[in-house]
Symmetry: C2
Subunit: 405 residues, 2 copies
């Protein structure tokens, strides 16, 4: 077939859309012997394959007619009931089943929120740095992304206030602040208690929503859990996103949204025309998984497993990276964020590293303002202990080489 | 929690969005003893539960690390390879793996197309009547829906030409024509060979895309398959949507899109920010299902199964409905479309019917211009043979009652 060009028929958003840096790198590095510290993918070693096989076998015996059929757009009612209990017990979040929507991953939750709240050119404030998948989602809804610096206690509050004042003066309507409160992607920073309270106050006084995206909160290696923003907010301005990709199975594409009933209802209507409903079979498997106490067990063993990997990566960094390279010590999650000396370019380092079968994600895509050239993100989640060791050693050598030039 | 109202923060599209008439009715009728001729849901009797249980057990033994992990946004490569073979053998569609995107149902395919091609107020032409889920998707992308009458041979070509001329004069840019070529939802009509050719010509001369949505094409009860529009189009203007909801399992939410490589690439980038990727486990199950010859077998037995139900419903209609009520005889699919006398209102009939535990979908939501008050859609897919009999008998009585008033 010789095809005519249809480029002129694309929408303006589609023409401007940049592919996801992570999704694209995952294709590049899909070759044998690659030691990938790039994607924030869980380690298949801890996938509950055996448990799931057992659950599905029962499910097909007893409930195939339901588990293979369309479900309601809101998500399986039994699963939403179970989640109401779970979020109360684990996070002190009080909600009804009508305040929960089950989604194809928390990415879909973010997309539905953007559809529900954003008119063209309205803005969402994000961290500098922050997860760039969220930027793409905002832009797909014709919104703007505005960055506010993040330090080791999360989003800088003074900066947030100034930014909101300035954007208001410029006539840009900010609709929401997007935060990843625990072990933020990519910085690893956890939003302090004080700042959680302040952001809630700012949302009230500026008539904003807070999008609280917490895919890593279950994976805390040390210290005490901080309460989610949604549990501290009395006005209903927080929309809380959770994911089962890090604690159950990313391939099942399951997440959920908690929010006030009316906004969840708006999101349900949006989802009706996006994909009708979430995968029923996967929801049933997850329901059984939770009811059999397997999720709690899995989370506990995952914490132990990933803590070891973090400690190992930190030790290797200490050993192999030169002293003018800086990084954080995250208390949980999957990521360590690296600051090279200002003069260095992490994307050049990546090009060299890939030639030596080592991959990571360069930091710049995480900065909505295009800064961060000298940063990069390492994930300790997926690579083996041995690969972490040799990859960090190789990266250390490459950095030293570049610095000596 | 007492929540503040956030209504003023909704986007204009979200404020205007009407819930899906089918998704909403499915919640209403979710009560025991309801004889539903409403949703186009497959009959769980033909779900391949046993086969799937067997496949999953092997899968978890051998491939849990892959089947539970994130996949690429494009979809599992092995599955796309299998689909290339399948569409060549079954529908004479020639394509490469880069021309296929696997989606969470064909609904998601439609959503991604709209995102890729529609700027605000640009239009998609649809049948009068046509599947209203597609209307909601167009509107969610800020597009307009314009209706063109459908008769027993599908979309009326003279009307299509006039409509395109008129909209062009009015300054509205039409970007695509949406057609369901086989056993259309809701009319049951199949687009004739002559009209298929004509629509392709019209797309070329008017610089349009054709969105060919074919969820029912595999379920032909009699007569010869007509070639899909995409197999007859040399310019690459057709985007072809298929679903596994009717032949495999709707709960697995699997569909795929075929189109020219560049537009598929635009859709992949859009999907990266919508839900990252399609459910991996479900894709592996489907792959095994196809490779084991189970899909072909299932389609054959489904045809036999649903043909009996259609014949039964047609016989009951003949027996119980008065002679001034008209309907079609579809050669496949799930639906029979009913025309009451002009004076009657199908939504009033629905209200009465639900009181007697019988449900269907009133026709008006299928008409983008708000007409069709005297029509309704019956689905013979999900109800049992006995329920079809008693439901049609009851509906016949209710219609006669109303006519005699």
């Amino acid at each position: 077939m010789e095809h005519v060009s249809l480029d002129h028929l694309y929408s303006s958003t589609s023409r401007k859309a940049q592919p996801s840096a992570i999704r694209e790198i995952c294709k590049l590095i899909d070759k044998p012997n690659m030691k990938s510290l790039a994607g924030g993918w869980p380690d298949p070693e801890v996938f509950p394959g055996t448990e799931i096989a057992g659950l599905i076998s029962n499910l097909m015996d007893q409930n195939a007619d339901l588990a293979l059929q369309y479900g309601t757009t809101e998500g399986l009612l039994k699963l939403r009931r179970e989640l109401c209990k779970l979020v109360d017990e684990n996070y002190n979040i009080k909600c009804s089943t009508d305040q929960i929507l089950i989604t194809h991953g928390s990415a879909q939750g973010m997309d539905l929120i953007c559809r529900v709240i954003l008119d063209p050119d309205e803005a969402v404030v994000v961290g500098l740095p922050s997860y760039f998948g969220a930027f793409g989602t905002v832009k797909a809804s014709r919104g703007q992304v505005i960055g506010v610096p993040v330090d080791h206690n999360g989003m800088n509050i003074a900066n947030l206030k100034t930014t909101l004042d300035e954007t208001a003066k410029q006539g840009t309507r900010v609709k929401a602040v997007y935060v990843i409160p625990n072990f933020q992607n990519p910085s690893g920073a956890t939003l302090s208690m004080k700042r959680r309270k302040e952001i809630i106050k700012i949302a009230d006084s500026n008539d904003l929503l807070i999008i609280e995206d917490d895919p890593y909160g279950d994976l805390r290696f040390e210290g005490k859990d901080l309460p989610p923003l949604i549990s501290m907010d009395n006005s209903g301005r927080v929309i809380h996103l959770r994911s089962f990709s890090k604690t159950f199975s990313p391939g099942m594409r399951l997440g959920y949204v908690i929010g006030q009933e009316k906004i969840i209802r708006q999101m349900v209507v949006a989802k009706q025309f996006v994909d009708c409903a979430t995968n029923t079979l996967s929801q049933y498997i997850l329901l059984e998984f939770i009811q059999n106490g397997l999720l709690d067990k899995r989370i506990k063993s995952n914490i132990e497993y990933y803590k070891k990997k973090r400690d190992h990566m930190l030790a290797q960094l200490q050993k192999h990276f030169p002293s003018n390279v800086k990084w954080n010590k995250p208390s949980g999650g999957f990521f360590i964020f690296i600051h090279l000396p200002e003069s260095m370019d992490a994307s050049e380092l990546l090009t060299d590293a890939v030639k030596h079968n080592v991959a990571f994600v360069a930091g710049q895509p995480f900065f909505a303002d295009g800064s961060g050239k000298n940063t990069f993100r390492l994930s300790f989640s997926q690579a083996s202990i041995d690969d972490i060791e040799s990859a960090i050693e190789k990266l250390g050598l490459l950095i030293k080489e570049k610095l000596s030039k």
